[in-house]
Assembly symmetry: C2
Homo-oligomer: 407 residues x 2
Amino acid sequence: MKNLLVGQSGGPTSVINASLAGVIQNGIKSPEIGKVLGTVNGIEGILSENIISLDHFTDQDITLLKQTPSSYLGSCRKKLPDASDDEAIYKKIFEVFKKNDIGYFFYIGGNDSMDTAKKLSSYATEKGIDGIKIIGVPKTIDNDLVLTDHTPGFGSCAKFVANSIRQLYLDTSVYKMKSIVIVEIMGRNAGWLAATAALANADDIHPVDILCLPEVVFDVDKFVDKVSEVMKTKDTTIIAISEGIKDETGRYIGERKDLGTGADGFSHAALGGAGRIVEHLLQSKLPEKIKTRTIEFSTLQRCFSATASKVDVDEAFSAGFMAVEFAKEGMTAVMPGFKRLSSNPYKMEIVPFDVKDVANYEKEIPKDMLSSDGFGVTEKFIEYAKPLIEGENPIIYKDGLIQFKTR
Amino acid sequence: MKNLLVGQSGGPTSVINASLAGVIQNGIKSPEIGKVLGTVNGIEGILSENIISLDHFTDQDITLLKQTPSSYLGSCRKKLPDASDDEAIYKKIFEVFKKNDIGYFFYIGGNDSMDTAKKLSSYATEKGIDGIKIIGVPKTIDNDLVLTDHTPGFGSCAKFVANSIRQLYLDTSVYKMKSIVIVEIMGRNAGWLAATAALANADDIHPVDILCLPEVVFDVDKFVDKVSEVMKTKDTTIIAISEGIKDETGRYIGERKDLGTGADGFSHAALGGAGRIVEHLLQSKLPEKIKTRTIEFSTLQRCFSATASKVDVDEAFSAGFMAVEFAKEGMTAVMPGFKRLSSNPYKMEIVPFDVKDVANYEKEIPKDMLSSDGFGVTEKFIEYAKPLIEGENPIIYKDGLIQFKTR
């Protein structure tokens, strides 16, 4: 009877631990699986043999793990070299697998982690090492993995973005004056997350009129015109800016310190990102003076479990759980991903994708989800994203503090 | 039968509408009170006669209002002049009161609003205008009103601060490396709110080791020594900085752009506040390079109703409700405030304070709540603040979005 090893990698999300919980729970309950083990700090923990037992997890631990943001097992940013360049590292990894009698290895992460799963499984095939199933489990707030409909972590982040904007809109529209709030949202290469700002608009309030996404070249003049136009008829607006917006030469706006230089010759945006540069732009270019504030959601957006989406938490758990099912069925080199059957009512199926087809590709927002003026999304995007923020994960608090499962 | 008029003033909080809900609910159910009216944008709405009916509020409206951040009636920052300098404005206000047959006026706000309540009631007394009860209802996230044990709005903001820090701590401690997160917290003159960062420390994790509060002079060398000392034994720490910290000359650190000037001669902190300046200080002065990130909670901390403290919401409601009770009992020129009977179990009584004794005073954190090294709080502060973040206000969502009562 072979043992199970699980690790986590890449940037934290609110629900990467829910996927871990799914792997652990299925691992513990499966009679064909021996010990359930975790590697601390991903691949690094294998190399340093920092492997811990997870067999003691109770149902209460699982519940708490599902509301604990970030990576319970710790993370790493290690990208495996090609085996042809550095075979030693592969030998070491498979030696540790053998020593611990590992028959199932699960790696929860984003693009780089799928690359790791791909490389390890290819190496095993090449070397004729069998008896080990290697499965990638997806997570990333960026929602930029290909093939899968979406990624665990995205929905909870989107929910934080949309609800924060709704609350900020009321906060900023309290006085009888014109005001703008610029919110800077994560996403270096794809605007999926920034686009979810549009979910804040509903029947009651319409906070967001302008989205700036990396998929559309940021044109200063067009942008200033758009803001002027919106402010003609509105007192308050929220402008959602992706940190990854670029100019026509492909340079990040967040690096265009020249755009943020004030009358005093100082760069007012050197430590800030795209949001503060755009704020400065508006201050110097708008025909009328409008009170403007920039808010960076920063890492808070990816770790705010307290308001996680239940759909996201449950799906993240299921992805981990199904990963173990797929491995037990004999699959390897796959990633459980989501296939959408219907948006309304929302129906999703978890299916295995080949990690080779996922690793190292990035998915941008398709053109038909972007509005023609370049400052918004279409109804197709809203239909796509709306179900992913549905439902509230019940949170256990003690003395007013969200409770965690920690190592 | 006289009518009731209510207004809101000053900066938004998560629960200022809960106080409004308390006033409206008691007003509607009181047979001795006629119409329940609201003035839009505080005193400005009286001057422009922008007065709306609130009589139609249902129980469902009240429930939604209690989870709607910011001011339902809108706000203003108008401070009344002395009647001896500008009597016209007083004449106008009392003329509008008379025209609308107002017998009860409630003004929900912070220090300036208590000043307004004081001035209006003094003017009424001087001029022999009777038949109108004028009551201030406290709110401020800053918790700096005197006499009252604490202020509505503070607890929910503190809860956001403490829980955000707990989640950020897990997020930042995920890699095997040293890292610091600086969180900048609101509070220009008093450190109450920044001090609540210490509530994040519990049996499971201890994120916060250093607090920088306006009550203690910010000494660069002492601060750098303290951080060095902490980082000797810890991989990750959160430093909580009040936006209002000052140097030995009383200048705000957030204005000491010289401290944030980098090797390139640019001021890297010109648009940021104290947090980014302190980040830059650490980068240039710490003996080892430590990954440091600054997060400004900005206005999100005062409007994040989704995780409001139930104690705070309920108390804010009660303050509004009791304000109407006091008025019905014949009181005027008072503010319902909190008198603590016991911290454990938490017992609070709502009592009337004279607005004259509240307006224009500010309450700093007392010395015995500050630790001797100047970088923390004592157990006395924890005992004081802990009950205020207790309990979760149940939130109504629709399609994943927090629902509001809006005008």
